[in-house]
Homo-oligomer: 324 residues x 2
């Protein structure tokens, strides 16, 4: 145990912010000065468990980066920029499952890369050891800056009837990546690499989130982590509304092998948002890959429409016309 925690000291301590920020001199607490905050604090925590949220075969660098990025994606959905994070790492204690020093070194290197890339501080953390699989719980702290700071956060439940539903980019890359990694999908080498990259290293849409909040016109926003269909339903439910999705308007990751799987598969991390029609048009001119894909209406539940405006019914085997 001592040796294990020595390793952690060796690989993680150098990453922890020092000076005025962070966890000084092996303290149990971290410190974040108020002057570092440009607005109210936005906080999120997400846990990733090996075998559940990532594959045991995923490289340690990308495991660390994904664990951070899924949290940054939550901040992005509130138009917030990252300030800092805390890492709670639970390592498997059994000799069989014990991560090697090389694994920890690679994990720490991946984390360091993304701390730098997304300009946030590792403020502190806790490391434990137990009988379970590797588990990574990251708490991320953010604030709104620039134009976003003077606008309210885009709460999940703040959509209004009549709002258009939009996404910041193509849907289904996460699904394709997982399929490739699980051996169920044969694609050209370059596409395979691209799909795996999307699954292992999702891109938190921080620029887009800040732009949406800064516009002052977006009512509701969330990141798509459970799949577009499930999350559109979550966004509508939270507002006590129904949503209509136009299947033909949903931008899909290429190749469009299985549209239903792509719009129901998870791990996408594009943003889904609701805003009035005139605002949506203005926003689309600023988003390279954005699309208007549906709308919120009175009622409840989710309806998927085909190109002719007929309702499709999502079933396990695919989608079928609701009224044949």
């Amino acid at each position: 145990m001592v040796a294990e925690f020595d390793l952690i000291d060796r690989y993680f301590r150098p990453l922890v912010a020092d000076g005025d920020f962070g966890q000084l001199l092996r303290d149990d607490c971290a410190h974040l000065p108020l002057r570092a905050l440009a607005s109210d604090l936005v906080l999120t925590v997400d846990t990733l468990i090996e075998g559940v949220h990532f594959l045991a075969s995923d490289p340690p660098e990308t495991v660390a980066r994904k664990a951070l990025r899924v949290n940054l994606s939550d901040l992005a959905a509130k138009g917030a920029s990252p300030v800092g994070c805390l890492l709670a790492l639970s390592l498997p204690s059994s000799a069989h499952a014990l991560k090697s020093e090389a694994w920890l070194a690679d994990f720490a290197r991946g984390l360091a890369l993304d701390l730098q890339q997304f300009d946030l501080q590792l403020l502190g953390g806790d490391t434990t050891s137990g009988p379970g699989p590797l588990s990574i719980s990251i708490t991320a702290l953010g604030h709104a800056t620039g134009a976003a700071a003077s606008q309210p956060p885009m709460l999940r439940g703040a959509g209004r009837a009549g709002d258009l539903l939009c996404v910041t980019g193509p849907i289904g890359w996460g699904y394709l990546g997982l399929q490739v990694l699980q051996g169920g999908l044969d694609l050209p080498e370059a596409t395979k690499r691209q799909a795996i990259q999307h699954y292992r290293l999702p891109e938190p849409r921080l620029r887009e989130g800040a732009l949406l909040r800064g516009s002052g016109t977006v009512h509701a926003c969330m990141d798509i982590s459970d799949g577009l269909v499930a999350d559109a339903r979550h966004l509508a439910d939270a507002a006590g509304l129904a949503c209509l999705l136009d299947l033909a308007k949903i931008p899909l990751a290429e190749p469009k092998l299985d549209p239903v799987a792509q719009i129901t598969g998870g791990d996408d991390y594009q943003l889904l948002f609701a805003c009035p029609g005139e605002a949506a048009e203005a926003i689309m001119t600023q988003l390279e890959q954005g699309a208007i894909i549906g709308r919120l209406t009175q009622g409840q539940g989710l309806t998927l429409l085909d190109a002719d405006g007929n309702a499709l019914r999502l079933a396990k085997e695919g989608y079928v016309h609701a009224k044949p």
Copy 2:
């Protein structure tokens, strides 16, 4: 799985702060307004794993409360008062280990009790399910208020040579409680209950921590979670100093069955602090159970002294004179 998360919704959602604080309408992020903060933010995260940090037989109410209290104890050591927390709960997914609805209801009730008792908000959280044992990771946020707000946090590594080492109360209750629960210790019923209470429901020394920081005279402070001997060594190491402990001056939980086990056993959660001699005397008049137990000196390592000032050597089997 759906049913399980419905349960979580049922039992935890009502605890989450609403309105301006907290996680609104099933959002992925929580919100903490800057005006809620009286000073720079103090943050800490601690993970408790079933079978490692608490016993599977511990009541769910006290498991929740202990998971919160060990974090509040870290805040106390920096003289900070709790503001809010985030809860990352990982539940075992196997049918055998799955926690019953009653277990979750009791856990949530325990958490609610302590949120009220210690006047902090549950801001949000995340729930996952995996093959491992129950794991609870709490991130706690605090700030310094009153007299403490104008004093610097008492960093673990800020002790100075010549400082006296002090504790806020008796040492070894955690050890006695664990021994009673593991059946290795027969005590009168009332003492048993008291020992178990200390183990399962440690008291975060928030009042004492605020008093120490507010005094402006305490250089270094930490909570005693790994055992007094280990933590005194941690405090001295962090300052690049040595420490001397006077065994006869260490206040012990009664009965003093095994002093060495009591000063080396964990789960105590009294505060250990370092300050100049004149300040220590003044502070002792304000602490009901405080004691001066040693001092920091130039050098390195920990020395335990007997009543005559002779060095004792701690060994697995107990302590012996270093120079017989």
